[in-house]
């Protein structure tokens, strides 16, 4: 118990009042009412805040509004029809359902793919195009990559990731927009699901990827984004929640 008879001591109070001069924190008002030096410190902080507030109110020039495109022309469609189809590859020893194995020879195309909120669609294009570079990543398997492989790709300097995310069958360090991007594949309910962790690619809103046979999303996550792409019918919403819960940026 301190001199003021409260559970908050003077050092704690001063730290708190310097962070929040409105004194909205618990125990603050009681402490300052009974501790004269801290009450004086509070007055100093409030006076300082008045000066800070006045100094921050710089003059605002007459800002001209940009030309806003009409609603009709706003929706962006990324034409990805010319891209090579992705093919899943499955090792013969994987004893999974024939119907799933058959899926390995079905071309997956992003024709008529609609992308929203990525103003020029370039990130969505790069993400989807990247899938073509590593078609072997999309294997149906029940074998997980080792911790060593996984964490050499999802390095602590980039992100932390809990293995509760799911069965990760592929992990490779790739490049998008010149930045290192962990490229993971996890086994979803419908087949392999690609996950790209892009800590430097900021987007304002989720970008929906809606193709003929696959679907996905690029999620804004902090100052970066994460792409999740699976076969049509995959539980993308559930995966979104799991990814958000199990991946944290370090950057």
């Amino acid at each position: 118990m301190n001199a003021a008879g409260t559970s908050m001591n003077c050092e704690q109070y001063r730290e708190a009042i310097a962070a929040d001069p409105s004194e909205s924190f618990d125990g603050g008002a009681m402490h300052s009412a009974e501790c004269s030096p801290c009450s004086k410190f509070k007055a100093e902080m409030r006076a300082l805040d008045e000066r800070i507030s006045a100094a921050m109110k710089i003059e605002v020039p007459d800002l001209s509004m940009p030309e806003f495109p009409s609603v009709a022309s706003e929706e962006k469609v990324v034409d990805l029809s010319s891209r090579r189809p992705i093919r899943w590859t499955t090792p013969a020893w994987v004893g999974l359902a024939a119907s799933v194995v058959l899926a390995t020879v079905i071309g997956v195309r992003f024709t008529d793919t609609h992308v929203s909120h990525d103003i020029d669609g370039s990130l969505a294009k790069q993400v989807v195009a990247h899938l073509d570079f590593e078609p072997n990543s999309l294997r149906v398997t029940d074998v997980a990559v080792s911790d060593e492989s996984l964490y050499s790709v999802v390095r602590p300097a980039i992100a932390s990731m809990d293995r509760n995310l799911g069965l990760i069958s592929y992990a490779m360090s790739c490049t998008i927009n010149g930045r290192e991007v962990p490229h993971l594949v996890m086994q979803g309910e419908k087949g392999p699901v690609t996950i790209l962790l892009m800590p430097h690619e900021m987007i304002d809103m989720p970008i929906q990827l809606d193709g003929e046979s696959i679907e996905g999303i690029i999620l804004p996550v902090g100052e970066g984004s994460i792409a999740i792409i699976g076969e049509r019918g995959e539980q993308i919403d559930q995966l979104k929640t799991r990814v958000r819960k199990n991946v944290k940026w370090s950057i």
């Binding site: 800070i52 710089i58 003059e59 009409s70 706003e74 909120h117 900021m202």
Partner: protein, 171 residues
């Protein structure tokens, strides 16, 4: 609803929820970038981005936080694109100098210069709290850091400002 009616309806909603915050958007951008000229560019881009994404704004009450988050991201994009050098306070552009000495009150200008010199990590939460009136929780959400980290930065920012202003007054 035809296209022109839709545009009109959208513009009305935009003015009500976004344009109304243009002064805050500009000041926030100016304190983030520490350059009024860049702030104008950032606000223009942020306005355009907000217009395109307006349908994604579900709660009207969250509009201010939403537009400021767009400004924050647009500012980061700007610096990513331009890869500007760190601001050297002894070698400012005319636009930057004008921001620091725009009043006839030298005391106010001293405080402004001290804020200008703060590290980005300290200056930003201070602007969001003092100028924008956001709570610790809201600032934590916007900056994607923990509330405890926000409080630590705010405490350090004020202590540093207090010291600098005291030293300035003593000279």
């Amino acid at each position: 609803m035809n296209s022109s009616n839709s545009d009109l309806h959208r513009r009305q909603r935009f003015d009500r929820l976004v344009s109304v915050w243009h002064r805050d958007m500009y000041r926030y951008a100016a304190w983030l970038s520490r350059d009024p000229a860049i702030a104008e560019d950032v606000v223009q881009e942020a306005m355009l981005r907000a217009w395109k994404s307006l349908d994604a704004l579900r709660e009207d009450d969250a509009a201010k936080q939403w537009v400021l988050t767009i400004v924050r991201r647009e500012n980061a994009r700007y610096f990513e694109r331009k890869r500007l050098e760190t601001v050297d306070i002894d070698n400012l552009t005319p636009s930057q100098s004008a921001m620091l000495a725009e009043s006839s009150d030298t005391d106010l200008d001293d405080v402004r210069e001290a804020i200008y010199r703060l590290d980005d990590d300290y200056r930003e939460p201070l602007v969001l709290q003092v100028l924008m009136g956001h709570s610790t929780k809201e600032i934590a959400e916007m900056m994607d850091i923990k509330p405890g980290a926000v409080l630590t930065r705010l405490h350090r920012a004020r202590i540093k400002l207090k010291q600098e202003i005291s030293e300035e007054a003593a000279t």
